[in-house]
Amino acid sequence: MNLKSLSWRLLCAVLAAGAVLGVDLAQRPLAPAAAGAVGPVVPPSFSVDHLVQAGRGAIPMPADAPAAHASTLLPMPASHPAALTVFWFSGERESGPNVQIAASQWDRATQQWAPARFVANRHVLGAVLGFGVRRLGNPVAWMDGSGRIHLFVVATGWGGWAASRILHLRQSSAGNGLQELAFAPVRVLPLSWLWNTSHLVRNAPLPLADGGMVLPVHFELGIKYPVALRFDSRGEFLGMARISRRHYALQPTLLAKTRTEWLALMRDARPDGKVIAARTQDGGRSWSDLPDLALVNPDSAVGGMALAPGHMLLAHNSSPASRAWLDLSRSADGVAWTPVHALEHGATDDDEFSYPAMAWADGSVWLSYTVDRQRLAWQRFSVDAAANAAAPNGVKP
């Protein structure tokens, strides 16, 4: 064997590459099965046409926190004292140094929100990570197969929101009652080569039949594009897929039409924008752009969910140049939308009702949203049982 000959060296290089491939493959779990979405468990005769408002109000804010924004709702298990946990970011001002992640829970016994408390602080997270976190924002919550809550939050480095990364936190407390709820960092999600900037998270994940989920996120450094991230039932990162080729679509919200056919509805960063749509028919492996929806979008976040086949809801700002109007619309196909409730119609364009979040819990649709970037409001819609039973277009078993 002459190691100075070209053929021997080439053979050695190929063998070394083969060995690396073998070692790499040996470390990996089997590739996951194709993703299939699951929806919330709704009554068999459910119809979005028969939703009636069952309550509304303000979510209590933490003390000395005059700014609040970007709430997310997490349905809790039926055995838990709370029906919902809401997370948001709050502090002196948006993107301020003292902004923390706040939380409250809707108590089933008292039918009230518990006093809010902070559950994540950038200094504490930075100490565990070993590097600084400049600002926190946009929490999104998910519960894994073991009942642990995961939070995905925007954590900025040097620069503003465009220099953000997505920090994955996992519940570190034994229980998930509000008073004991605590989180520890898992990792900053590896999403980009460019110093891992500038991905942000905003909307709720789409639950999967295997106990995992698909988390919609977006990139926004100049160009804006949406991405879907897949996680397994333990919250381990499985991969990423671009949702749209458009460079002005952000903050996707995912709605499942069937197990494998999903829609992504997105905020439009263009002036005079419409709600942007994309579709996958293979459980998120590949996506294709759809024509814009007829709904106007004043560069503002939308929040939606599919409650049952043919029954989708979308909360969106319907005023063309401001966030003063927030409406709830329904759709059977995700393309044609009809307003069903005016959630908020501000008196002037200076009023802001924005960043809606939606969840199904205790037989109701719950919504939370930001009011004037200062506080959060909530609304609850329950099914009108009499109308639903008589309706011909309900989802019959």
């Binding site: 690396v20 491939l21 460019l194 991969g239």
Partner: protein, 229 residues
């Protein structure tokens, strides 16, 4: 090609079962990586100083990076740039070792350009441009996501090993040409710094450095050709 062999191929290029490093490993690498890079930086800046001062200074800078909290450079560098790539750390470790030798003066951009190192620098520059375009979704496919596939480190090793294969008759290979293969081997063992092969072999700072190396080599070659004619 039968279905069974196709299944193997699909598994090799699959990007949906990545292996990521644990939190403790990432934090350990963050501190180690920046301590090596900054220690080399100190030694490179102080080449006129006595070796004993350089040794002591580089050691203190390296230790400083392990201080927890706001008073550590790691806190701020990690906030801005996350962790350096394995290639950067291996390169800086080698340069640090060389620069701390008595009577050795090692330049990051040396006057003589090794052919194999230049070839790898050109490839690294091209890969960096492709990854930059991919970061802005300007490529038709997701190149960064491909770095999570099992085949990515194997192919990078194969390409990075080509200088060794092709230099078989010349004998000695520039030490810097071993940086990328070593980085791939460390990556496959430890999955650092992120679990993505691209982050292991090339970071944006290293990419900028490689471009400087390539531009300088091209400039020197042009100047030499002009002087010949």
């Amino acid at each position: 090609m039968n279905l069974e062999s196709m299944a193997w191929l699909v598994q090799w290029v699959s990007v949906d079962s990545p292996v990521l490093p644990g939190p403790w490993a990432m934090q350990w690498w963050l501190h180690l990586g920046w301590s090596v890079v900054l220690a080399w930086g100190f030694a490179a800046l102080g080449q006129a100083w006595p070796p004993r001062v350089r040794w002591a200074g580089a050691g203190l800078v390296a230790l400083w990076c392990w201080v927890p909290g706001l008073y550590s450079p790691t806190h701020w560098l990690g906030m801005a740039f996350q962790a350096p790539s394995i290639s950067s750390v291996v390169l800086c470790a080698w340069l640090l070792r060389e620069s701390l030798q008595p009577s050795r003066r090692v330049l990051l951009l040396p006057s003589s350009v090794d052919r194999s190192t230049l070839a790898l620098a050109v490839l690294g520059s091209i890969a960096g441009w492709a990854l930059l375009l991919d970061s802005f979704a300007l490529l038709p496919m997701s190149l960064y996501a491909w770095g999570f596939s099992p085949i990515a480190p194997a192919l990078v090793l194969l390409v990075a090993g080509l200088p060794w294969v092709l230099e078989c008759r010349d004998g000695a290979l520039d030490t810097k040409a071993w940086v990328a293969p070593v980085a791939v081997l460390v990556f496959v063992a430890l999955r650092l710094p992120t679990g993505n092969a691209w982050d292991a072999v090339l970071d944006p700072w290293l990419w900028l450095l490689l471009q400087g190396y390539v531009v300088r080599a091209a400039f020197r070659r042009t100047s030499r050709l002009k002087s010949v004619h």
